[in-house]
Amino acid sequence: MIDTTVKLARIAVENLNFFYGKKQALQDLNLNIFDRQVTALIGPSGCGKSTFIRLLNRMNDLTPDTRAEGRIILDGKNILDPKIDVVNLRRRVGMVFQKPNPFPKTIFQNIAYGLEINGETDKNLIENKVEESLKKAALWDEAKDRLNDSALRLSGGQQQRLCIARCLAVEPEVILFDEPCASLDPISTKKIEELIGELKKDYTIVIVTHNMQQASRVSDYTAFMYLGDLVEFGTTEKLFTVPKNKRTEEYLSGKFG
Protein backbone atom coordinates (compact mmCIF):
# COMPACT_ATOMS: atom_id res chain seq x y z
CA MET A 1 0.00 0.00 0.00
CA ILE A 2 1.15 3.48 -0.78
CA ASP A 3 1.11 5.72 2.20
CA THR A 4 0.11 9.19 1.07
CA THR A 5 1.36 10.93 4.17
CA VAL A 6 5.05 10.29 3.68
CA LYS A 7 5.15 11.04 -0.04
CA LEU A 8 6.64 14.34 -1.00
CA ALA A 9 4.29 16.62 -2.92
CA ARG A 10 6.14 17.89 -5.98
CA ILE A 11 3.33 20.07 -7.22
CA ALA A 12 0.58 21.51 -5.05
CA VAL A 13 -2.55 22.78 -6.77
CA GLU A 14 -4.54 25.22 -4.66
CA ASN A 15 -8.00 26.58 -5.45
CA LEU A 16 -7.39 26.48 -9.18
CA ASN A 17 -9.99 28.02 -11.46
CA PHE A 18 -9.61 28.39 -15.21
CA PHE A 19 -11.63 30.23 -17.83
CA TYR A 20 -11.82 30.22 -21.61
CA GLY A 21 -13.25 33.67 -22.11
CA LYS A 22 -16.31 33.64 -19.85
CA LYS A 23 -16.66 29.88 -19.83
CA GLN A 24 -15.28 28.28 -16.71
CA ALA A 25 -13.35 25.10 -17.52
CA LEU A 26 -11.91 24.21 -14.12
CA GLN A 27 -13.59 24.76 -10.77
CA ASP A 28 -11.68 25.06 -7.57
CA LEU A 29 -9.19 22.25 -8.02
CA ASN A 30 -7.08 21.14 -5.07
CA LEU A 31 -4.64 18.27 -5.28
CA ASN A 32 -1.05 17.24 -4.76
CA ILE A 33 1.13 15.63 -7.36
CA PHE A 34 3.69 13.46 -5.65
CA ASP A 35 7.36 13.22 -6.40
CA ARG A 36 8.41 10.31 -8.61
CA GLN A 37 4.93 8.91 -8.79
CA VAL A 38 2.59 8.56 -11.72
CA THR A 39 -0.58 10.57 -11.37
CA ALA A 40 -3.34 9.78 -13.84
CA LEU A 41 -6.14 12.16 -14.77
CA ILE A 42 -9.26 10.41 -15.98
CA GLY A 43 -12.75 11.54 -16.89
CA PRO A 44 -15.07 11.92 -19.86
CA SER A 45 -14.24 14.23 -22.79
CA GLY A 46 -14.48 17.89 -21.94
CA CYS A 47 -14.00 17.35 -18.21
CA GLY A 48 -10.97 19.64 -18.17
CA LYS A 49 -8.18 17.13 -17.74
CA SER A 50 -6.26 18.31 -20.78
CA THR A 51 -6.84 21.91 -19.79
CA PHE A 52 -5.45 21.14 -16.37
CA ILE A 53 -2.34 19.34 -17.57
CA ARG A 54 -1.59 22.15 -19.99
CA LEU A 55 -1.58 24.58 -17.10
CA LEU A 56 1.27 22.71 -15.45
CA ASN A 57 3.70 23.94 -18.12
CA ARG A 58 1.69 27.02 -19.07
CA MET A 59 0.90 25.74 -22.56
CA ASN A 60 -2.45 27.45 -22.22
CA ASP A 61 -0.60 30.74 -22.62
CA LEU A 62 -0.72 30.01 -26.34
CA THR A 63 -4.52 30.08 -26.33
CA PRO A 64 -5.76 33.65 -26.41
CA ASP A 65 -8.40 34.96 -24.00
CA THR A 66 -7.80 32.53 -21.15
CA ARG A 67 -7.47 33.23 -17.45
CA ALA A 68 -6.31 31.20 -14.46
CA GLU A 69 -6.96 31.86 -10.78
CA GLY A 70 -5.49 30.14 -7.77
CA ARG A 71 -2.03 28.73 -7.36
CA ILE A 72 0.07 25.90 -8.68
CA ILE A 73 3.13 25.57 -6.51
CA LEU A 74 6.21 23.89 -7.92
CA ASP A 75 9.20 23.91 -5.55
CA GLY A 76 7.80 26.79 -3.54
CA LYS A 77 7.00 28.99 -6.51
CA ASN A 78 3.61 29.75 -8.01
CA ILE A 79 3.98 28.87 -11.69
CA LEU A 80 0.84 30.81 -12.59
CA ASP A 81 2.62 34.00 -11.56
CA PRO A 82 2.84 36.11 -14.75
CA LYS A 83 6.37 37.10 -13.76
CA ILE A 84 7.69 33.57 -13.72
CA ASP A 85 10.15 32.56 -16.47
CA VAL A 86 7.98 30.31 -18.66
CA VAL A 87 10.92 29.17 -20.75
CA ASN A 88 12.64 27.87 -17.64
CA LEU A 89 9.42 26.31 -16.37
CA ARG A 90 8.93 24.41 -19.62
CA ARG A 91 12.47 23.09 -19.45
CA ARG A 92 11.68 21.68 -16.05
CA VAL A 93 8.23 20.43 -16.93
CA GLY A 94 8.37 18.51 -20.20
CA MET A 95 5.41 17.44 -22.25
CA VAL A 96 4.47 14.60 -24.58
CA PHE A 97 1.44 15.26 -26.74
CA GLN A 98 -1.58 13.28 -27.83
CA LYS A 99 -0.46 13.02 -31.42
CA PRO A 100 3.24 12.27 -31.96
CA ASN A 101 4.69 15.56 -33.20
CA PRO A 102 8.33 15.14 -34.17
CA PHE A 103 9.80 18.05 -36.08
CA PRO A 104 10.30 17.57 -39.83
CA LYS A 105 14.00 17.05 -39.18
CA THR A 106 16.24 14.03 -38.69
CA ILE A 107 15.95 11.80 -35.64
CA PHE A 108 19.22 13.20 -34.34
CA GLN A 109 18.20 16.83 -34.89
CA ASN A 110 14.89 16.27 -33.16
CA ILE A 111 16.64 15.42 -29.93
CA ALA A 112 19.53 17.83 -30.35
CA TYR A 113 17.11 20.72 -30.82
CA GLY A 114 16.22 21.00 -27.15
CA LEU A 115 19.91 21.12 -26.24
CA GLU A 116 20.77 23.63 -28.93
CA ILE A 117 18.10 26.08 -27.87
CA ASN A 118 19.58 25.86 -24.41
CA GLY A 119 22.83 27.12 -25.89
CA GLU A 120 24.66 23.76 -25.91
CA THR A 121 27.33 23.74 -28.62
CA ASP A 122 29.61 20.86 -27.55
CA LYS A 123 29.13 18.28 -30.31
CA ASN A 124 30.36 15.34 -28.22
CA LEU A 125 28.06 16.19 -25.38
CA ILE A 126 25.10 16.50 -27.74
CA GLU A 127 25.91 13.14 -29.34
CA ASN A 128 26.16 11.44 -25.96
CA LYS A 129 22.94 13.04 -24.83
CA VAL A 130 21.10 11.94 -27.98
CA GLU A 131 22.23 8.36 -27.41
CA GLU A 132 21.39 8.45 -23.74
CA SER A 133 17.92 9.89 -24.37
CA LEU A 134 17.14 7.37 -27.08
CA LYS A 135 18.22 4.56 -24.78
CA LYS A 136 16.05 5.85 -21.97
CA ALA A 137 13.11 6.07 -24.36
CA ALA A 138 13.76 2.47 -25.54
CA LEU A 139 14.28 3.61 -29.11
CA TRP A 140 18.05 3.31 -29.44
CA ASP A 141 18.15 -0.18 -30.91
CA GLU A 142 15.63 0.72 -33.58
CA ALA A 143 17.06 4.15 -34.36
CA LYS A 144 20.83 3.90 -33.94
CA ASP A 145 21.48 3.06 -37.61
CA ARG A 146 19.18 5.73 -38.97
CA LEU A 147 19.85 8.79 -36.85
CA ASN A 148 20.08 10.90 -39.98
CA ASP A 149 16.78 9.71 -41.41
CA SER A 150 13.77 11.97 -41.27
CA ALA A 151 11.86 11.45 -38.04
CA LEU A 152 8.65 11.41 -40.05
CA ARG A 153 9.67 8.05 -41.52
CA LEU A 154 9.37 6.34 -38.14
CA SER A 155 6.16 4.53 -37.24
CA GLY A 156 3.63 6.25 -35.00
CA GLY A 157 4.77 4.40 -31.89
CA GLN A 158 8.42 5.09 -32.66
CA GLN A 159 7.61 8.74 -33.25
CA GLN A 160 5.98 8.95 -29.85
CA ARG A 161 9.02 7.37 -28.19
CA LEU A 162 11.16 9.87 -30.09
CA CYS A 163 9.04 12.65 -28.63
CA ILE A 164 9.65 11.17 -25.20
CA ALA A 165 13.40 11.02 -25.91
CA ARG A 166 13.31 14.61 -27.10
CA CYS A 167 11.64 15.59 -23.88
CA LEU A 168 14.12 13.62 -21.73
CA ALA A 169 17.11 15.24 -23.42
CA VAL A 170 16.49 18.59 -21.76
CA GLU A 171 16.43 16.85 -18.35
CA PRO A 172 13.03 17.84 -17.03
CA GLU A 173 11.91 16.99 -13.52
CA VAL A 174 8.26 16.53 -14.32
CA ILE A 175 6.87 14.97 -17.50
CA LEU A 176 3.32 15.57 -18.65
CA PHE A 177 1.71 13.00 -20.95
CA ASP A 178 -1.42 14.23 -22.67
CA GLU A 179 -3.14 11.03 -23.87
CA PRO A 180 0.15 9.74 -25.26
CA CYS A 181 -1.33 6.54 -26.66
CA ALA A 182 -4.51 7.94 -28.16
CA SER A 183 -3.29 7.43 -31.72
CA LEU A 184 -1.22 4.30 -31.19
CA ASP A 185 -1.79 0.59 -31.72
CA PRO A 186 -1.90 -1.80 -28.72
CA ILE A 187 1.70 -2.97 -29.07
CA SER A 188 3.06 0.57 -29.20
CA THR A 189 0.79 1.45 -26.30
CA LYS A 190 2.24 -1.37 -24.25
CA LYS A 191 5.75 -0.14 -24.97
CA ILE A 192 4.90 3.40 -23.89
CA GLU A 193 3.27 2.11 -20.70
CA GLU A 194 6.33 0.05 -19.84
CA LEU A 195 8.43 3.10 -20.52
CA ILE A 196 6.36 5.21 -18.15
CA GLY A 197 6.91 2.55 -15.49
CA GLU A 198 10.66 2.88 -16.02
CA LEU A 199 10.66 6.66 -16.10
CA LYS A 200 8.87 7.13 -12.80
CA LYS A 201 12.04 6.07 -11.01
CA ASP A 202 13.56 9.39 -12.01
CA TYR A 203 10.69 11.65 -12.95
CA THR A 204 7.41 12.88 -11.60
CA ILE A 205 4.78 11.94 -14.14
CA VAL A 206 1.29 13.23 -14.86
CA ILE A 207 -0.72 11.43 -17.50
CA VAL A 208 -4.08 12.24 -19.01
CA THR A 209 -5.85 9.21 -20.36
CA HIS A 210 -9.21 8.21 -21.74
CA ASN A 211 -8.41 4.65 -21.05
CA MET A 212 -9.28 3.57 -17.50
CA GLN A 213 -7.38 0.31 -17.80
CA GLN A 214 -4.35 2.29 -18.74
CA ALA A 215 -4.75 4.52 -15.71
CA SER A 216 -5.03 1.48 -13.45
CA ARG A 217 -1.99 -0.15 -15.06
CA VAL A 218 0.44 2.75 -15.03
CA SER A 219 -0.50 5.11 -12.25
CA ASP A 220 0.02 5.34 -8.50
CA TYR A 221 -2.54 8.08 -8.00
CA THR A 222 -5.66 8.84 -9.95
CA ALA A 223 -7.76 11.95 -10.18
CA PHE A 224 -11.26 11.61 -11.57
CA MET A 225 -12.57 14.80 -13.11
CA TYR A 226 -16.05 15.61 -14.29
CA LEU A 227 -17.26 18.84 -15.93
CA GLY A 228 -14.37 20.88 -14.60
CA ASP A 229 -14.60 19.50 -11.05
CA LEU A 230 -12.16 17.24 -9.34
CA VAL A 231 -14.59 14.60 -8.13
CA GLU A 232 -12.20 12.23 -6.44
CA PHE A 233 -8.49 11.92 -5.93
CA GLY A 234 -6.59 9.14 -4.26
CA THR A 235 -4.31 6.20 -4.73
CA THR A 236 -5.16 4.35 -7.89
CA GLU A 237 -5.69 1.16 -5.95
CA LYS A 238 -8.29 2.68 -3.67
CA LEU A 239 -10.00 4.75 -6.30
CA PHE A 240 -10.47 1.78 -8.58
CA THR A 241 -11.48 -0.73 -5.91
CA VAL A 242 -13.41 1.31 -3.37
CA PRO A 243 -14.38 4.65 -4.95
CA LYS A 244 -15.87 7.01 -2.39
CA ASN A 245 -17.93 9.03 -4.80
CA LYS A 246 -20.95 7.65 -6.63
CA ARG A 247 -20.00 9.43 -9.86
CA THR A 248 -16.56 7.86 -9.83
CA GLU A 249 -18.08 4.46 -9.36
CA GLU A 250 -20.53 5.03 -12.19
CA TYR A 251 -17.80 6.22 -14.51
CA LEU A 252 -15.48 3.35 -13.65
CA SER A 253 -18.25 0.83 -14.21
CA GLY A 254 -18.98 2.35 -17.60
CA LYS A 255 -22.39 3.86 -16.78
CA PHE A 256 -21.33 7.05 -18.55
CA GLY A 257 -18.26 8.55 -20.16
Binding site: N57, M59, L62, V87, N88, R90, R91, G94, M95, F97, K99, N101, P102, F103, P104, K105, Y113, G114, E116, I117, N118, L152, C163, R166, C167, V170
Partner: protein
Protein backbone atom coordinates in the same frame (compact mmCIF):
# COMPACT_ATOMS: atom_id res chain seq x y z
CA UNK B 1 -35.04 16.17 -72.56
CA UNK B 2 -33.22 15.92 -69.25
CA UNK B 3 -30.60 13.75 -70.84
CA UNK B 4 -30.13 16.26 -73.59
CA UNK B 5 -29.70 19.01 -71.01
CA UNK B 6 -27.15 16.95 -69.08
CA UNK B 7 -25.19 16.35 -72.23
CA UNK B 8 -25.38 20.01 -73.17
CA UNK B 9 -24.09 21.19 -69.77
CA UNK B 10 -21.36 18.65 -69.88
CA UNK B 11 -20.33 19.79 -73.30
CA UNK B 12 -20.40 23.51 -72.42
CA UNK B 13 -18.25 23.08 -69.32
CA UNK B 14 -15.82 20.82 -71.14
CA UNK B 15 -15.31 23.48 -73.77
CA UNK B 16 -14.85 26.14 -71.08
CA UNK B 17 -12.30 24.04 -69.24
CA UNK B 18 -10.26 23.44 -72.36
CA UNK B 19 -10.12 27.08 -73.48
CA UNK B 20 -7.01 27.76 -71.35
CA UNK B 21 -5.19 24.90 -72.98
CA UNK B 22 -6.38 26.02 -76.38
CA UNK B 23 -5.13 29.57 -75.90
CA UNK B 24 -1.86 28.38 -74.43
CA UNK B 25 -1.20 26.20 -77.45
CA UNK B 26 -2.21 29.07 -79.74
CA UNK B 27 0.22 31.44 -78.04
CA UNK B 28 3.06 28.94 -78.23
CA UNK B 29 2.38 28.30 -81.92
CA UNK B 30 2.30 32.01 -82.72
CA UNK B 31 5.50 32.67 -80.75
CA UNK B 32 7.28 29.84 -82.54
CA UNK B 33 6.02 30.69 -86.01
CA UNK B 34 6.79 34.40 -85.76
CA UNK B 35 9.98 33.98 -83.76
CA UNK B 36 11.61 31.22 -85.81
CA UNK B 37 12.74 33.37 -88.81
CA UNK B 38 15.14 35.42 -86.68
CA UNK B 39 16.48 32.32 -84.94
CA UNK B 40 17.12 30.79 -88.38
CA UNK B 41 18.70 33.96 -89.73
CA UNK B 42 21.00 34.72 -86.78
CA UNK B 43 21.21 31.38 -85.05
CA UNK B 44 19.75 30.79 -81.56
CA UNK B 45 23.12 30.96 -79.81
CA UNK B 46 24.12 34.25 -81.40
CA UNK B 47 20.66 35.64 -80.78
CA UNK B 48 20.93 34.89 -77.05
CA UNK B 49 24.58 35.82 -76.56
CA UNK B 50 25.00 38.73 -78.95
CA UNK B 51 25.84 41.93 -77.12
CA UNK B 52 24.51 44.37 -79.72
CA UNK B 53 20.85 45.15 -80.10
CA UNK B 54 20.64 47.43 -83.15
CA UNK B 55 17.43 46.27 -84.77
CA UNK B 56 16.97 49.31 -87.00
CA UNK B 57 20.59 49.82 -88.16
CA UNK B 58 21.92 48.76 -91.50
CA UNK B 59 23.14 46.09 -91.19
CA UNK B 60 20.89 45.34 -88.20
CA UNK B 61 22.20 43.37 -85.23
CA UNK B 62 20.00 41.21 -83.07
CA UNK B 63 21.79 40.23 -79.86
CA UNK B 64 19.52 40.13 -76.81
CA UNK B 65 22.17 39.47 -74.19
CA UNK B 66 21.96 43.07 -72.85
CA UNK B 67 18.20 42.69 -72.58
CA UNK B 68 18.50 39.42 -70.67
CA UNK B 69 21.08 40.97 -68.35
CA UNK B 70 18.74 43.93 -67.86
CA UNK B 71 15.79 41.71 -66.98
CA UNK B 72 17.84 39.58 -64.61
CA UNK B 73 19.54 42.50 -62.88
CA UNK B 74 16.23 44.25 -62.31
CA UNK B 75 14.64 41.00 -61.10
CA UNK B 76 17.47 40.16 -58.72
CA UNK B 77 17.64 43.73 -57.45
CA UNK B 78 13.91 43.71 -56.89
CA UNK B 79 14.27 40.47 -54.91
CA UNK B 80 16.85 42.11 -52.67
CA UNK B 81 14.17 44.65 -51.82
CA UNK B 82 11.11 42.40 -51.82
CA UNK B 83 12.33 39.26 -50.02
CA UNK B 84 13.29 40.84 -46.69
CA UNK B 85 10.26 43.14 -46.70
CA UNK B 86 7.83 40.47 -47.90
CA UNK B 87 9.05 37.65 -45.64
CA UNK B 88 9.45 40.10 -42.76
CA UNK B 89 5.88 41.33 -43.11
CA UNK B 90 4.63 37.77 -43.29
CA UNK B 91 6.50 36.77 -40.12
CA UNK B 92 5.18 39.81 -38.34
CA UNK B 93 1.61 39.27 -39.51
CA UNK B 94 1.71 35.58 -38.69
CA UNK B 95 3.41 35.61 -35.35
CA UNK B 96 3.62 38.99 -33.71
CA UNK B 97 0.76 41.16 -34.88
CA UNK B 98 -2.22 41.47 -32.59
CA UNK B 99 -5.72 41.12 -34.01
CA UNK B 100 -6.19 44.87 -34.38
CA UNK B 101 -2.94 45.54 -36.24
CA UNK B 102 -3.52 42.48 -38.39
CA UNK B 103 -6.88 43.83 -39.46
CA UNK B 104 -5.21 47.00 -40.70
CA UNK B 105 -2.00 45.56 -42.09
CA UNK B 106 -3.22 42.52 -44.01
CA UNK B 107 -5.69 44.44 -46.18
CA UNK B 108 -3.01 47.08 -46.73
CA UNK B 109 -0.65 44.48 -48.13
CA UNK B 110 -3.42 43.13 -50.33
CA UNK B 111 -4.43 46.56 -51.58
CA UNK B 112 -0.80 47.17 -52.56
CA UNK B 113 -1.17 44.31 -55.01
CA UNK B 114 -4.29 45.93 -56.43
CA UNK B 115 -2.43 49.09 -57.48
CA UNK B 116 -2.22 49.05 -61.31
CA UNK B 117 1.29 48.63 -62.63
CA UNK B 118 1.10 51.87 -64.56
CA UNK B 119 0.51 53.70 -61.30
CA UNK B 120 3.64 52.07 -59.91
CA UNK B 121 5.47 53.22 -63.03
CA UNK B 122 4.15 56.71 -62.57
CA UNK B 123 5.19 56.70 -58.94
CA UNK B 124 8.64 55.44 -59.92
CA UNK B 125 9.10 58.06 -62.59
CA UNK B 126 7.90 61.06 -60.65
CA UNK B 127 8.95 60.25 -57.08
CA UNK B 128 11.59 57.53 -56.90
CA UNK B 129 13.67 58.47 -59.97
CA UNK B 130 14.32 62.12 -59.04
CA UNK B 131 15.07 61.00 -55.51
CA UNK B 132 17.60 58.37 -56.68
CA UNK B 133 19.20 60.88 -59.04
CA UNK B 134 19.67 63.41 -56.26
CA UNK B 135 20.84 61.01 -53.55
CA UNK B 136 23.35 59.06 -55.63
CA UNK B 137 24.41 61.89 -57.97
CA UNK B 138 23.79 59.88 -61.13
CA UNK B 139 23.03 61.32 -64.58
CA UNK B 140 19.54 59.86 -64.70
CA UNK B 141 17.17 58.50 -62.12
CA UNK B 142 15.66 56.16 -64.67
CA UNK B 143 17.96 53.17 -64.26
CA UNK B 144 18.24 49.58 -63.10
CA UNK B 145 18.36 50.58 -59.45
CA UNK B 146 15.14 52.57 -59.57
CA UNK B 147 13.46 49.83 -61.56
CA UNK B 148 14.57 47.27 -58.98
CA UNK B 149 13.25 49.34 -56.08
CA UNK B 150 9.87 49.99 -57.67
CA UNK B 151 9.50 46.38 -58.87
CA UNK B 152 10.57 45.19 -55.45
CA UNK B 153 7.77 47.14 -53.84
CA UNK B 154 5.37 45.66 -56.40
CA UNK B 155 6.46 42.13 -55.50
CA UNK B 156 6.02 42.55 -51.74
CA UNK B 157 2.32 41.54 -51.67
CA UNK B 158 2.92 38.37 -53.67
CA UNK B 159 5.77 37.28 -51.44
CA UNK B 160 4.13 38.40 -48.20
CA UNK B 161 0.80 36.70 -48.74
CA UNK B 162 2.24 33.44 -50.12
CA UNK B 163 4.77 33.32 -47.29
CA UNK B 164 2.06 33.92 -44.75
CA UNK B 165 0.04 31.06 -46.23
CA UNK B 166 3.11 28.83 -46.01
CA UNK B 167 3.63 29.76 -42.35
CA UNK B 168 -0.02 29.03 -41.70
CA UNK B 169 0.37 25.52 -43.11
CA UNK B 170 2.96 24.66 -40.48
CA UNK B 171 1.10 22.45 -38.01
CA UNK B 172 0.47 24.02 -34.63
CA UNK B 173 1.83 20.85 -33.05
CA UNK B 174 5.37 21.73 -34.20
CA UNK B 175 5.16 25.03 -32.41
CA UNK B 176 3.74 23.45 -29.27
CA UNK B 177 6.49 20.84 -29.26
CA UNK B 178 9.09 23.56 -29.53
CA UNK B 179 7.58 25.69 -26.78
CA UNK B 180 7.23 22.65 -24.56
CA UNK B 181 10.98 22.10 -24.79
CA UNK B 182 11.55 25.58 -23.46
CA UNK B 183 12.18 27.35 -26.76
CA UNK B 184 11.45 31.04 -26.93
CA UNK B 185 9.07 32.48 -29.47
CA UNK B 186 11.95 33.71 -31.59
CA UNK B 187 13.79 30.36 -31.53
CA UNK B 188 10.57 28.58 -32.48
CA UNK B 189 9.95 30.95 -35.36
CA UNK B 190 13.47 30.83 -36.79
CA UNK B 191 14.41 27.22 -36.12
CA UNK B 192 11.10 25.38 -36.48
CA UNK B 193 8.39 27.37 -38.23
CA UNK B 194 10.47 29.02 -40.94
CA UNK B 195 12.37 25.85 -41.95
CA UNK B 196 9.13 23.86 -41.96
CA UNK B 197 7.65 26.50 -44.24
CA UNK B 198 10.93 26.83 -46.13
CA UNK B 199 9.83 25.40 -49.44
CA UNK B 200 6.61 27.39 -49.29
CA UNK B 201 8.66 30.50 -48.74
CA UNK B 202 10.93 29.69 -51.68
CA UNK B 203 7.86 29.12 -53.83
CA UNK B 204 6.64 32.55 -52.81
CA UNK B 205 9.97 34.09 -53.75
CA UNK B 206 10.13 32.35 -57.12
CA UNK B 207 6.58 33.35 -58.01
CA UNK B 208 7.36 36.93 -57.00
CA UNK B 209 10.40 36.79 -59.26
CA UNK B 210 8.36 35.34 -62.08
CA UNK B 211 5.95 38.22 -61.76
CA UNK B 212 8.79 40.72 -61.93
CA UNK B 213 10.45 39.15 -64.96
CA UNK B 214 7.16 39.30 -66.83
CA UNK B 215 6.16 42.78 -65.69
CA UNK B 216 6.16 45.31 -68.51
CA UNK B 217 4.59 48.68 -67.96
CA UNK B 218 6.50 49.68 -64.86
CA UNK B 219 9.93 48.72 -66.18
CA UNK B 220 9.21 50.44 -69.44
CA UNK B 221 8.61 53.65 -67.52
CA UNK B 222 11.45 53.56 -65.02
CA UNK B 223 14.32 51.46 -66.38
CA UNK B 224 15.75 54.08 -68.77
CA UNK B 225 15.65 52.02 -71.93
CA UNK B 226 19.31 51.74 -72.96
CA UNK B 227 19.93 48.43 -74.73
CA UNK B 228 23.55 48.05 -73.64
CA UNK B 229 25.16 45.90 -70.99
CA UNK B 230 25.10 48.03 -67.83
CA UNK B 231 28.35 48.76 -65.99
CA UNK B 232 26.70 49.60 -62.70
CA UNK B 233 23.26 49.29 -61.19
CA UNK B 234 22.80 53.00 -61.78
CA UNK B 235 22.98 52.62 -65.58
CA UNK B 236 19.80 52.73 -67.63
CA UNK B 237 18.76 49.30 -68.89
CA UNK B 238 16.24 47.86 -71.30
CA UNK B 239 14.64 44.65 -70.06
CA UNK B 240 13.07 42.20 -72.49
CA UNK B 241 9.47 43.09 -71.77
CA UNK B 242 9.92 46.80 -72.29
CA UNK B 243 11.85 46.17 -75.50
CA UNK B 244 8.87 44.33 -76.94
CA UNK B 245 6.40 46.93 -75.72
CA UNK B 246 8.43 49.86 -76.97
CA UNK B 247 9.39 48.49 -80.37
CA UNK B 248 6.39 46.47 -81.48
CA UNK B 249 4.69 49.57 -82.84
CA UNK B 250 7.59 50.59 -85.05
CA UNK B 251 8.70 47.17 -86.32
CA UNK B 252 7.56 46.40 -89.85
CA UNK B 253 5.26 43.38 -89.87
CA UNK B 254 7.09 40.34 -91.16
CA UNK B 255 10.55 41.93 -90.87
CA UNK B 256 13.43 40.37 -88.97
CA UNK B 257 12.98 42.98 -86.23
CA UNK B 258 9.34 41.94 -85.88
CA UNK B 259 10.41 38.31 -85.69
CA UNK B 260 13.11 39.14 -83.13
CA UNK B 261 10.52 40.67 -80.81
CA UNK B 262 8.49 37.49 -80.95
CA UNK B 263 11.61 35.49 -80.24
CA UNK B 264 12.24 37.65 -77.17
CA UNK B 265 8.69 36.84 -76.12
CA UNK B 266 9.47 33.17 -76.53
CA UNK B 267 12.61 33.44 -74.37
CA UNK B 268 10.65 35.33 -71.75
CA UNK B 269 7.91 32.74 -71.77
CA UNK B 270 10.44 29.93 -71.31
CA UNK B 271 12.04 31.80 -68.39
CA UNK B 272 8.80 32.36 -66.49
CA UNK B 273 7.65 28.85 -67.34
CA UNK B 274 10.84 27.45 -65.81
CA UNK B 275 10.38 29.53 -62.67
CA UNK B 276 6.79 28.35 -62.33
CA UNK B 277 7.70 24.71 -62.83
CA UNK B 278 10.45 24.98 -60.22
CA UNK B 279 8.08 26.54 -57.71
CA UNK B 280 5.41 23.94 -58.43
CA UNK B 281 7.90 21.14 -57.80
CA UNK B 282 9.16 22.67 -54.60
CA UNK B 283 5.70 23.16 -53.19
CA UNK B 284 4.75 19.59 -54.08
CA UNK B 285 7.75 18.23 -52.19
CA UNK B 286 6.90 20.52 -49.33
CA UNK B 287 3.37 19.20 -49.02
CA UNK B 288 4.72 15.67 -48.90
CA UNK B 289 7.33 16.63 -46.33
CA UNK B 290 4.71 18.04 -43.99
CA UNK B 291 2.47 15.07 -44.59
CA UNK B 292 -0.27 17.22 -46.14
CA UNK B 293 -0.53 14.92 -49.13
CA UNK B 294 -1.65 11.86 -47.25
Amino acid sequence: MIRFKEALYRWIFTVMAFTSLFFLLGIIIVLLREGLPILMAVGPFKFLSGVHWYPTYDPAEFGIFPLIIASLSVAIGAMVVAVPLGVGSALYLHELAGERIRHILKPAVEILSAVPSIVFGFFGMMIVAPFVQKIFHVPTGLNAFTAAVVMGIMAIPTIASLTEDALGFVPRSFKEASYALGASRWQTLIKIVLPAAGSGVSTAIILGMSRIVGETMTVLMVSGGAAVIPHSIFDPVRPMTSTIAAEMGEAVTGSLHYSALFAIGLVLFLMTLTLNIISENISKKYRIKLGLDR
